[in-house]
C-alpha cells in the first residue's frame, strides 16, 4: 500500500512539470520537422520525401508501422516517447490523407519498444516499403 501511495505522490509531483514543458504536437512538428518537411508535409522533391497524402501508406505494409518510429528523423528527435507517439498520431491524422480514427494510434509503450531498435539501412528499408505500396495498388 505504501508503494502505491509513493508512486501516486511521485506521479502528482511530476505532472505539473511534464505538462508545463510539453508542447502541442503541432508545435513539436513545427520545431522539429517543419524545417525540412515544410508546413503541410509536402517536403521537397528529390531531397525531402513528401508525407502529404502519403504517410498513412506505411501503415498498410508490413514493417511500415515500425519504420515511422525508427526513421532517424523520428527516433532521434529530441522528444520523449509519449510526445513522439502523440506527434505521429497527429501527423497521420492531419496530413496523410487518412482520418484520425482509421488507424490504431501509437502508444507511448509501443514507441518506446520500437525506438529501442535502431534502423541500420534506412534508404533500403524505405525503398522496400515504397515498392510494396506500388504492388498493393
Amino acid at each position: 500500500m505504501a508503494t502505491v501511495f509513493r508512486t501516486l505522490a511521485l506521479c502528482l509531483l511530476c505532472l505539473p512539470a511534464v505538462s508545463a514543458a510539453a508542447m502541442e504536437p503541432r508545435t513539436n512538428y513545427m520545431i522539429n520537422c517543419q524545417g525540412c518537411h515544410l508546413a503541410d508535409g509536402r517536403g521537397k522533391a528529390g531531397s525531402v520525401p513528401s508525407m502529404k497524402g502519403e504517410l498513412h501508406k506505411f501503415l498498410t505494409v508490413p514493417g511500415g508501422r515500425e519504420f515511422l518510429v525508427q526513421v532517424p528523423g523520428s527516433a532521434n528527435a529530441p522528444l520523449n516517447d509519449a510526445e513522439l507517439a502523440e506527434l505521429l498520431n497527429w501527423m497521420l491524422g492531419s496530413m496523410s490523407g487518412t482520418s484520425s480514427n482509421s488507424f490504431s494510434p501509437y502508444t507511448e509503450a509501443e514507441v518506446k519498444k520500437l525506438r529501442a531498435k535502431v534502423l541500420v539501412d534506412v534508404m533500403k528499408t524505405r525503398e522496400r516499403l515504397v515498392r510494396q505500396f506500388a504492388e498493393n495498388k
Binding site: S19, A21, A22, I31, C33, Q34, G35
Partner: protein, 186 residues
C-alpha cells in the same frame, strides 16, 4: 673628414641662430594637442553618425513597426535573432522577413524558438536563408541559442540551409515568426 666637421658646425650654428630654445617644446606641444583633436573634427563625427548608432556603418536604425515586436531588426540583439548564424538580411537590402532583390528564399530552413520580451511568450522562428548572390558580408550575427552539433542536423545552424533553393550560394538570413510555441496544457 674636414668637410663633415664643417657641415656639422655650419648646420648646428644655423639651427642655433634660427630657433629659440623654447620652439621645440612649442611645436611638440602643438603636435600632441592637434593629434588628440583629430577625432573631434567634423569628418570623424560624420563617419560615426552615418551608422545611426547601428551595428554596421551605413545601416540606419530600423523598427518593425508592429506592436509587440520590439527592437531594431538591423541589430544582432533583436529578439528574433536568438538562434541566428549569418548576415542579417535587414542590413543587406532585405528585411527580417524578406530577401534582398535578386535572391531566392530557401524553402528548407532551420527552426528555433525565441522569447519575445514584450509579451514573455516563446515564438517559433524560421531562419530562412536567402540564396543566389554572393554573401552579403554585413551585420554578421552569431547567437546560436539551442544550436545543436552537426550530427543533429535538423537544428544545426552551420549547415548551408540554401540546399532547398535553386542556387546554393548563401547571401543572408531572415527570421520569420511562424507562431507561438503553445503548450499542450494551454
Amino acid at each position: 673628414m674636414k668637410w663633415l666637421d664643417k657641415l656639422t658646425i655650419k648646420s648646428s650654428r644655423r639651427l642655433a641662430q634660427n630657433s629659440s630654445r623654447r620652439s621645440f617644446i612649442t611645436r611638440f606641444g602643438t603636435a600632441l594637442v592637434g593629434g588628440a583633436a583629430i577625432p573631434l573634427l567634423p569628418v570623424a563625427r560624420a563617419s560615426a553618425s552615418s551608422s545611426g548608432g547601428g551595428m554596421y556603418p551605413g545601416v540606419a536604425a530600423q523598427e518593425s513597426g508592429v506592436k509587440g515586436d520590439p527592437g531594431d531588426p538591423s541589430q544582432c540583439d533583436y529578439w528574433r535573432y536568438c538562434a541566428i548564424d549569418g548576415f542579417l538580411c535587414s542590413c543587406c537590402g532585405g528585411t527580417q522577413n524578406s530577401c534582398p532583390p535578386g535572391t531566392e528564399m530557401s524553402p528548407i530552413t532551420w527552426i528555433g524558438t525565441c522569447l519575445n520580451p514584450e509579451d514573455g511568450k516563446n515564438y517559433i522562428i524560421s531562419y530562412n536563408d536567402c540564396c543566389g548572390t554572393s554573401s552579403c558580408g554585413r551585420c554578421l550575427c552569431n547567437r546560436n541559442e539551442r544550436d545543436t552539433p552537426i550530427y543533429r542536423a535538423q537544428t544545426n545552424n552551420d549547415t548551408n540551409w540554401c540546399l532547398g533553393a535553386s542556387s546554393t550560394v548563401y547571401t543572408c538570413s531572415t527570421a520569420i515568426v511562424l507562431g507561438v510555441a503553445t503548450d499542450s496544457a494551454s
